[in-house]
Symmetry: C2
Subunit: 199 residues, 2 copies
């Protein structure tokens, strides 16, 4: 039996469809929304509909955007010569927040995963290669997450791009700044030792 | 500078107004919503508006309801003689989930907190006393959260109700089932020892 009235149960069920939200947090959020003034619920409802109405993919880098091309692709202060390849829009955000990268991006929208039926044609790989064919691109930075499938995707891309005489680099892997060696996994530590740099 | 397009930033900002949602989880949720089919966003937007439109307070127990009186207050299989007093609707839910309580509830919507300017007139205390004045109530179970302010509220209510010759009980405090004594705080352990029961 549902304990809460139907509209509240419905909101809890919908909220718990969000990632990282279980039924307890969904209940907490729903009760908070009920106790808050009407503006919160209305504003959130409006944002949800707007985001679906107004956000599309940038036709150049395939990041989410409300203008096409996106703000980053239009920015003439950013170099066209370096493209940073990421898995998803969240990864692009993380890099952008560091403020150190001044080139353009390319969002793959996933990684190769043959077991899940995801091949190169399901990702924005063809589009990346077209961009690189233009002749302006000097370097491609592979910033794909270092998972098993991400690594495979990086090698796949590196193979193709190196044949076009483009410089291909990848972000450094190792112990995170502030990390603790005794809690680090074997693979990271091994990589960290093998990729040691001169001081 | 906002990195994401405006509608997405707006959704992230609105989501992070929810309790327990920081900007990272809000970003994760917003990107998930963008990647999901339109039905999720629409359904959640609709639930948000409906919950505000259709949910009101039960005029008897002051729990949230879409019918007045609420389902629990209308249920004739539940005893009118025992009222369980809770701080908020979430607490009522937790008790209801145990399935052991077959009486009625009364939701205070907060606890006394003189420093925040919350006195008896800001809570549903007058309404509780009116219910107890009807003569049908034999026992009031105080199930207010055992915080400092909750304890003060419990004592305040106990003082009033005892004068009306109503049996006043409170839920047992102690070490939670499955709990570990070495991680228990001093106050709980002290209470647990003082309130020990015969086996």
């Amino acid at each position: 039996m549902d304990i809460f009235p139907a509209p509240l149960e419905r909101l809890i069920r919908d909220l718990s469809r969000l990632p990282g939200v279980g039924s307890k947090s969904a209940t907490r959020m729903a009760l908070y929304i009920l106790n808050s003034n009407r503006e919160l619920a209305d504003s959130l409802a409006k944002s949800l509909v707007q985001v679906k109405d107004e956000i599309k993919f940038c036709s150049i880098c395939f990041n989410f955007t409300d203008t096409d091309p996106c703000a980053v692709c239009r920015d003439t202060n950013r170099s066209e010569r370096v493209i940073c390849v990421v898995e998803g829009p969240g990864d692009q955000l993380a890099i952008e927040e560091t403020g150190v990268f001044k080139g353009k991006y390319h969002v793959l929208h996933g990684v190769l995963s043959p077991l899940d039926g995801i091949g190169p044609e399901n990702l924005k790989i063809g589009e990346l290669i077209s961009r690189c064919n233009s002749g302006d691109v000097e370097e491609v930075i592979l910033a794909i997450n270092p998972t098993t499938q991400g690594e495979a995707t990086s090698s796949y891309l590196a193979d193709i791009l190196l044949k076009k005489n483009i410089k291909v680099t990848r972000i450094a892997l190792g112990v995170p700044v502030g990390g603790d060696l005794k809690y680090m996994d074997y693979m990271t530590l091994k990589h960290s030792l093998n990729s040691r740099t001169l001081v």
